[in-house]
Symmetry: C2
Subunit: 139 residues, 2 copies
């Protein structure tokens, strides 16, 4: 996919959700899509303003909130007191290295599916996520 196509793809996604396409919102979403780590709001802000000022702090926070509401982005909880964001919408699990903090995505199919029947009577399962803790190949 060319650079240009990627841009159009993002614009299409935002419009499809009824969002106005502003440079700041575009930048936040594009940044999240192009990164493979799971950055915090602060990480994104830093990255966007690395070269030239692009967005303010408040705008990054509000963009993330908006993108989350329309399900283009989701929050990931892997560490205590840290909110991370992820634009990978395909269901997947996470592997976090306890030593260096690196986070790797684990494809949904990579795990044998759980047998969730009759877990707790009367409770309906919507979805589930697995977080694996361990040591990565470099630690």
């Amino acid at each position: 996919m060319t650079m240009q196509q990627q841009r159009e793809e993002i614009i299409r996604a935002l419009k499809a959700k009824g969002l106005r396409v502003t440079p700041q919102r575009f930048a936040v979403y594009a940044n999240l899509l192009h990164r493979c780590d799971h950055p915090t709001a602060e990480d994104i802000l830093q990255d966007l303003n690395r070269v030239a000022p692009t967005s303010s702090q408040a705008t990054v926070y509000s963009s993330l909130q908006t993108l989350r509401q329309v399900n283009l982005v989701r929050e990931v909880l892997l560490e205590e007191g840290v909110r991370r964001y992820d634009a990978n919408l395909k269901p997947h699990h996470h592997f976090r290295c306890q030593y260096c903090g690196t986070i790797a995505d684990i494809a949904w199919q990579a795990l044998a599916h759980l047998d969730l029947k009759n877990l707790k009577s009367g409770w309906q399962i919507q979805d589930y996520e697995v977080t694996i803790h361990g040591r990565c190949d470099r630690c």
Copy 2:
């Protein structure tokens, strides 16, 4: 187990970890052990001071931190921006109702174990946890 035995059990656990047994620390840990929900620091503070002032805010926070460091207590991440605590050390998973927020423990054995072999080459698995989202029997 009698009330008295429970108290002695707690004192033994704290001493075994090299911690001094203060009334405040005792109260925080005992409170957490006797509750089946997964309270926040604030919840614990409220509960302890319900009848008579027992601990200050700073002390509850510091006790939780200390108890966590010695592995008598662990943090649970189930909702965005909320830190909950749990003194149940037996490995278990969590089920959270998306409607009322109720959290239920799922015994480790209740889930068919995951096949975690060959997940990612070079990565060693320490442990994993499953968070299930759904609707509880009362919602």
